[in-house]
């Protein structure tokens, strides 16, 4: 149809998203946002998987993504439950105030 896009571009896009995810994980102060940035990182990984899967003409990479989604769902259930529990106890979602223990 038209010009090919190098696989590396997809990978770089994945790297950009992953790095933004890391930055957000480190910078954001709201627990939920931190959790969201982990999801962003997982999505970046998924893109990498799909790109490589395309490159190798193997669907096993896609299956990995499938599993990552399931795991992300499970993690979301547990993580949000933990967040709800901590909000009930502390009435805040700021990580800097979740500091009963010495850092």
């Amino acid at each position: 149809m038209s010009a090919q896009v190098p696989i590396a571009y997809y990978l770089v896009l994945g790297a950009i998203l992953f790095s933004i995810g890391i930055a957000a994980f480190l910078i954001k102060r709201n627990i939920i946002t931190i959790f969201i940035s982990i999801e962003l990182m997982l999505n970046a990984v998924n893109l990498t998987f799909v790109a490589f899967s395309h490159m190798w003409h193997q669907v096993s990479g896609q299956i990995f993504v499938f599993f990552v989604m399931v795991v992300a769902a499970a993690e979301a259930a547990v993580g949000l439950a933990i967040i709800i529990a901590i909000f009930r106890a502390r009435q805040t979602l700021n990580v800097d105030q979740i500091n009963l223990m010495k850092l």
Binding site: M1, S2, A3, Q4, V5, P6, I7, A8, Y10, L11, V12, L13, A15, L17, S19, I20, G21, I22, A23, A24, L26, I27, K28, R29, N30, I32, I36, S37, E39, L40, N43, L47, V50, A51, S53, H54, H57, V59, S60, Q62, I63, F66, M69, V70, A73, A74, A76, A77, V78, L80, A81, I83, I84, A85, F87, R88, L93, N94, D96, Q97
Partner: protein, 168 residues
Amino acid sequence: MQLALFLIFGVLAVAGAINLLLQRHPINSALSLVVVMMSLAVLYWSLGAEFLAAAQVIVYSGAIMVLFVFVIMLLNAGEEEHTTGSRIAYVAGFPGAAAIFCLLSFVFLSERKAMGGTDLGGYLSHSANNIAEISRLLFRDLLLPFEVTSILILVAILGAVVLARKEQ
């Protein structure tokens, strides 16, 4: 067309991610992530993974992120406040992330030739088999992980119940 798709949705994804970083209210961050996910879904489709594209929309943006939005709405904890901790994080966060990005991109781009490019046409012409192929692999070679995932989900359900339950 592939390049156009990639550029449009790649830029959209990056914009969404940066918006996630910059927004102060978690709900905005969550919605930015939904934007990222939708753009990624399109990119998956453009890479010949249409089943995943659908799964991405249904599972990720349609279920997981809704759950996030739901919890954010439920807790309604307001915008995030910046404290002294965040300044340290700024100092540590940006350079670290930038370093990782530079390293990854450098390797990707330096080995760009070896990885080749997308051949959407050839791939998509057999795309009708994609789902069948996925299921063949999933229910044969990778049957065990698939089945063991049920334990994972069981654990997650158990955990959600245990953690969110109010103590008497």
